[in-house]
């Protein structure tokens, strides 16, 4: 019984996946389909891609499913001090002060705000590695253990990283941490193992409101291109010239 069911290779798995997809095409805002369809049958060619992500602040409901799925997909340590992606809540009060929190990255939800009268604006902001085109973490790695792959994803070589943590210091977004057991730097990979198979990152997969959009930065038909065409886009800390590839729509000036 077991033997009969097991042999489904990843390639078959992806193929069947992408065959099932057109059914959802009409309702789904392109998020997953075009990527998978584009890869079907052909060998994956990293030089043909340059990945990025779009995040629509107005759609984020702060459910934290993305942070949860990320931990599940990538075996991120469960302690609330290690996150590849997390959700922040911004509460801007009448005196103009912004207060931010992210209890357990948003995975367990957010405790209710009291004193609603004092609140001017409030919203959720999902955060993750920005996969900067001009990544400071890649620049400072002394041995070449972190790098930008040919498809524009910033990755860490866990067999080569010496654990000096210079990259963690250099990241302006707090997107990196030191894996407590492996003793090497770790961060979001855009679920690299998924995207080369034509799937979307786990956080994009589970987002119930399609607040996250994944795709190619340069490809005309990519859902990300569509996203940046139809929204006013900001990136985080643009003054640092890191050229982030996570594009925020509707992000408040207080977000940093």
């Amino acid at each position: 019984m077991k033997e009969n069911l097991k042999p489904i290779s990843r390639r078959e798995f992806v193929r069947s996946c992408s065959q099932a997809l057109p059914a959802g095409l009409f309702f789904f805002t392109f998020g997953i389909e075009s990527l998978a369809a584009g890869e079907e049958g052909s060998q994956y060619d990293p030089t043909q891609h340059n990945y990025g992500m779009g995040i629509d602040i107005h759609k984020c409901i702060g459910c934290g499913r993305c942070a949860e799925a990320c931990k599940g997909e990538n075996n991120v340590p469960r302690e609330p001090i290690y996150f590849r992606t997390w959700v922040e809540r911004y509460v801007i009060s009448t005196d103009g002060e912004a207060q931010v929190d992210s209890p357990n990255g948003g995975i367990d939800g957010f405790p209710e705000t009291r004193e609603e009268r004092d609140i001017v604006r409030t919203f959720f902001v999902p955060k993750l590695c920005n996969h900067c085109a001009n990544a400071p973490c890649v620049q400072v790695c002394p041995v070449g253990a972190t790098f930008t792959s040919r498809d524009g994803v910033v990755l860490v070589d866990e067999k080569y990283c010496i654990g000096c943590r210079y990259c963690i210091q250099a990241c302006p977004y707090g997107a990196r941490f030191l894996h407590p057991e492996k003793r090497v730097a770790e961060k979001c990979t855009f679920c690299y193992h998924r995207i080369v198979e034509g799937l979307v990152p786990a956080c994009v997969e589970v987002c119930p409101t399609q607040a996250r959009v994944f795709g190619d930065v340069g490809l005309q038909s990519s859902p990300l291109r569509r996203f940046v065409r139809f929204h006013d886009i900001t990136v985080l800390k643009p003054q640092l010239n890191t050229k982030p590839k996570v594009y925020y729509a509707g992000a408040d000036g207080e977000v940093r």
Binding site: I8, S16, A23, G109, F124, R194
Partner: protein
Amino acid sequence: MAVLFVLALAALVAARKLLIPHSFGDYGHYRADVVDEIAAQPINYAGYGICADCHSDIYDLKQQSHHRGLSCESCHGPAAKHVEAPDEFIPGAPRERGYCPLCHGYNLSRPTGFPQILPQTHNPGKPCMSCHNPHNPLLPHPPEECSACHREIATRKTVSHHATLLCTQCHVVPADHLNNPRFVRPQKPEGRAFCGQCHAPDAASPAEIPRIDLTTHHERYLCWDCHYPHSPEAIR
């Protein structure tokens, strides 16, 4: 001496050659093989759509519902193992009351219009599924009070001078708004004259209601430019 030097140099070069991973520098200053190693990491979330192969009935139902944008694994958790061995690994299904409020519990920071309830007062103790089918989440009956959806406005109004006014005093609410709230929208008052029905000096309303001469009182503005009708005394 020179021989020694050459030998030492050769040893250094050989050691370098031996110790540097062979694929290092193929595409950049990194070990090219690591990309394949990272790509070989096992997938836990099977992905949107594959569930339809076996569960087409539930899938089709969900695709017609308000939850059509939801991936099955958003609620059921990672299911790649289930795809490989459907009988051995059964993904979970959250049935407890605490799960749905992760999205639908009232939270001010959520975008307005997103359906939210107050878990403390919304049929406490009753599992969500006893009234709502998560694969086709419809309301068991249309909401009876405006405050079911417009809680923020309702709470504000109850502590204001307009507390006794019904919503329908100012808004015309089409019946279908209760079933299709985002497409069939209520009407709002259009001009200064509307507020004047109560607040103009000659209005036929009880005497204790404050009056204002609409012809002289900031006549180039609409009333709600300055006064928030759901809490009119709040703005000074």
